[in-house]
């Protein structure tokens, strides 16, 4: 499956963040301080026009993150 199709198939799914180890430290700190920490549930809500950034929902808050950052997350699927 292509990367595009893979991300599209993730829309609406709810994942649990296992770790953010793959993110560089400065990025990890930004994520932590915004409440994006391991154990939280994350939902890919939609893809913005032109394919990037992605709109995600964490802690009842909406964030726009780019695909590189999304691929840094270690995720485990919880439910759809």
């Amino acid at each position: 499956m292509s990367e595009e199709a893979e991300i599209e198939s993730d829309i609406g799914k709810i994942y649990r963040i296992l770790s953010l180890r793959k993110c560089p430290l400065s990025q990890r700190v930004s994520l932590y301080t915004r409440g994006i920490i391991p154990g939280k549930e994350i939902r890919l809500r939609q893809i913005s026009p032109l394919g990037d950034p992605l709109i995600v929902e964490i802690n009842q808050q909406t964030f726009a993150i780019n695909r590189d950052m999304w691929s840094c997350f270690d995720l485990e699927e919880c439910r759809s």
């Binding site: 400065s26 700190v29 913005s48 009842q60 964030f63 726009a64 993150i65 590189d68």
Partner: protein, 751 residues
């Protein structure tokens, strides 16, 4: 209390309502909005009640000392950290949005660890019923061991209670809060205590934490890293930053179980619904452009309608009536000239922009306050990334089409400094409203059949040069490209904009702009009026003309402007370009002074008060009756009488087109220059001036060459030459910058 100035600092995450609170506590009207980064620099003002303490509003931050290298508004963050390190703030008001309590308590914990005196302000309590949450404030107060006050800064609820809490807190003898709300693992606690001792008696838990996490950024791990107790506790791939940050969140989450008792996702559902359309894969872009078009259509339509009604009345008040009084009371000519064409004309020119600016700022505030502006940045992000710019840049550039100054000011949304610089360099090429007026007047006189086409060409040319500048800046390495990895944007919740706040904010912003413009226009109009009536020998000229000082200057500069089609006989146009350096709004008023006096020098002094009142009122009423004309999709600019003078002087359309191209692209006005310098520094502002003037001259010159050799082959050759010239400039600049960087790079050490 000591006699020194007492300082109360407002701190909190971005977009939690800090500035609303600041405005409530002081008599200020600082700018507010529903997006992160409205406040860029710390603002301070005396408190409302007796003013015995000073309130400081700091830009929003998620945490103190994030160690993020490309963090936006770095200076203000540094300033905030200094205030904490040096204990310069007597009480911190830590503003927290009740909707997202958990993540915001992280900053509170940091403040308490830094032994700061903190009052937690839970904002937006009016939202509590809507979000179906119940917050046990007493319980939270016990965990944090600090006072907690509930307010709604926007609606003004709980402000009195907050003020009395501040007073009480200040009256209590200064005692440092030694309560650390978070207990780390025993091994980490021992390490923190040891570090605190090493740092000296002024050290806090926070300074010890800062010292420990600083080691995460060094290449060599510190000695404590190998201590068995710590190594056992920490995850193999975790650093001290991860360990301590996650412990803090673990404790905060535990508190949340006791403090927040009810949850519902009502708001999220509504936001989701709106986002579905505004961020839609196919509809997102058309909706964005429609929204921007709507803003301009409304602001130009309503603004011009108001302008059409207000301007004749204003002219009567500030030019005609003073002119009549001067005539009747036999005021000396020089004085009369200064009163009518100096002061009067400058007031009219400056104030005539007020309606358009007011409506535009109101429309933009509505978009910002509703939460759409951040979505607009998301929608445009990918498109702008092709120019290595974030989506926020496009929002700023679109605003620049109204006026470059708000456009430049809107670059504060852009998180990365380099992106901000490129956007600021592109901005002068976006045709602002003042330039639109110049184009509309000239195109309606010289190209009556193709006025819209001429305008369109000028707009497209401006945008193309802006894009070219952006690409050139990146291609040559003049401004380094941003690392796209760091894109993380918090989308604010949608909300209904408050009309009263919007009206007030739009008034503040447009008033500030008009006052700044007036400060420039007034001396310009006075000097021009005088120079236009005095000859080189110092004699006063009854009828201004070719003998005046200003005409001599304009004619002298004709040599410089000859390659772009303007010769000595076009001196009024040359002088208007010079005056346009101060403000583009002055260009038309300069021309009106010259040509109006040439066509009818006695125009200002005829008639009586009654006839003037009748004619101006009739004009205002006529404009009001033609209200629909302002909303039509084509330009309804009326040609002023003085503009007809051009044809009598046989100014060729080619010369006018060269003039328009130069006006479109040359030096941004001083207000834009000042705004650019404030946002990105004087060095870049200076570069912007040089670059835009060079490009303007080259483009106008090329146009003249192309039209003077009307053979398609030569046209093509000139266009190719221009392309080649651009490429040569780009390559030369790239080579120059690389060689400079290579020179300044540290020498390589051989292994």
């Amino acid at each position: 209390m000591s006699s020194k100035e007492i300082r109360v600092g407002i701190i909190g995450n971005p977009n939690v309502g800090k500035t609303y609170l600041f405005n409530r506590l002081t008599a200020c009207e600082s700018c507010v909005g529903n997006w992160s980064g409205v406040t860029q620099t710390a603002c301070k003002a005396k408190s409302k009640q007796g003013g015995h303490y000073e309130v400081l509003d700091f830009p929003g931050c998620h945490a103190i000392r994030e160690y993020k290298p490309d963090i936006a508004h770095q200076d203000s963050v540094h300033d905030l950290e200094q205030q904490i390190d040096n204990n310069q703030i007597d009480v911190w008001l830590n503003v927290i949005d009740i909707e997202h309590l958990e993540k915001q308590l992280y900053l509170t914990v940091q403040l308490l660890e830094a032994k700061q005196r903190v009052i937690v302000v839970l904002n937006r309590i009016d939202r509590l019923p809507a979000i179906s949450k119940n917050i046990d404030i007493q319980q939270l107060g016990k965990f944090l061991n600090t006072p907690i006050v509930k307010v709604s800064a926007k609606l003004g609820l709980g402000i009195r209670a907050l003020q009395s809490t501040i007073e009480d807190h200040l009256n209590v003898e200064q005692q440092k809060h030694d309560h650390y709300p978070v207990q780390y693992h025993a091994s980490i606690e021992r390490l923190l205590t040891k570090t605190e001792t090493q740092l000296g008696h002024q050290a806090t838990r926070f300074s010890a934490w800062s010292a420990l996490i600083a080691s995460d950024y060094s290449e060599k791990p510190p000695a404590w890293h190998f201590e068995p107790a710590i190594a056992e506790r920490m995850h193999p791939q975790h650093l001290m930053t991860d360990e301590m940050t996650l412990t803090r969140f673990e404790i905060i989450q535990r508190w949340m179980h006791h403090v927040v008792t009810k949850k519902a996702a009502t708001r999220q559902h509504a936001d989701k619904h709106w986002d579905h359309w505004f961020l839609h894969k196919w509809l997102g872009l058309p909706l964005f452009f429609s929204m921007m078009l709507l803003v301009f259509w409304i602001s130009m339509g309503v603004g011009q309608l108001l302008q059409g009604v207000v301007e004749p009345l204003l002219r009567m008040l500030v030019i005609d009536v003073p002119g009549l009084l001067c005539r009747d009371f036999a005021v000396p000519q020089v004085m009369a000239l200064l009163i009518t064409q100096g002061i009067g004309l400058s007031i009219m020119t400056a104030l005539s922009f007020f309606p358009i600016l007011y409506v535009m700022f109101l429309a933009l505030h509505t978009l910002e306050e509703s939460g759409y502006m951040t979505r607009a940045a998301v929608v445009m992000d990918r498109l702008m990334r092709w120019c290595h710019l974030p989506g926020e840049s496009l929002v700023a550039l679109v605003l620049g089409l109204g006026c470059n100054v708000p456009g430049i000011l809107a670059t504060r949304h852009i998180p990365n400094h380099n992106d901000k610089v490129v956007t600021a360099l592109m901005m002068p090429f976006m045709s602002c409203g003042a330039r639109l007026t110049i184009f509309a007047v000239f195109s309606s006189v010289f190209f009556p059949q193709h006025a819209a086409v001429v305008l369109f060409i000028l707009y497209v040319l401006g945008i193309s040069i802006a894009v070219f500048t952006g690409i050139l800046a990146r291609y040559t390495g003049l401004v380094q490209a941003t690392n796209a990895e760091t894109y993380l944007l918090e989308l604010p919740a949608y909300q209904w904009p408050s009309l009263t706040v919007g009206l007030r904010q739009a008034y503040q912003r447009s008033q500030r702009f008009v006052m700044n413009a007036f400060a420039i226009i007034l001396p310009v109009c006075c000097i021009l009026a005088l120079c236009n009536h005095i000859d080189i020998q110092g004699n006063f000229l009854q009828i201004p003309g070719d003998q005046s000082i200003i005409a001599s200057i304009g004619k002298g500069l004709g040599v410089l402007f000859a390659p772009i089609g303007l010769t000595a006989e076009h001196w009024p146009l040359i002088v208007s370009l010079l005056m346009g350096l101060l403000a583009k709004e002055v260009v038309i008023s300069t021309l009106s002074i010259f040509y109006m006096q040439m066509t009818d020098p006695l125009q200002q002094t005829v008639g009586t008060l009654a006839t003037l009142w009748q004619s101006n009122l009739a004009e205002a009423l006529e404009n009001a009756q033609r209200w629909y004309a302002y909303f039509l999709p084509f330009i309804q600019t009326e040609t002023p009488n003085w503009a007809l003078y051009f044809n009598q002087q046989h100014i060729s359309p080619q010369a006018v087109m060269g003039y328009l191209i130069f006006t479109l692209l040359y030096f941004p006005c001083v207000s834009t220059l000042y705004a650019t310098a404030r946002q990105v520094g004087w060095r870049w502002a200076g570069f912007s001036v040089l670059w835009s003037t060079l490009v303007a001259y080259l483009c106008a010159f090329t146009y003249q060459m192309v039209v003077q050799i009307p053979l398609p082959l030569y046209d093509a050759l000139w266009l190719i030459s221009l392309g080649g010239l651009c490429y040569a400039v780009a390559t030369g600049l790239k080579w120059f910058i690389r060689s400079k960087k290579a020179e300044s790079a540290p020498p390589q050490v051989a292994p």
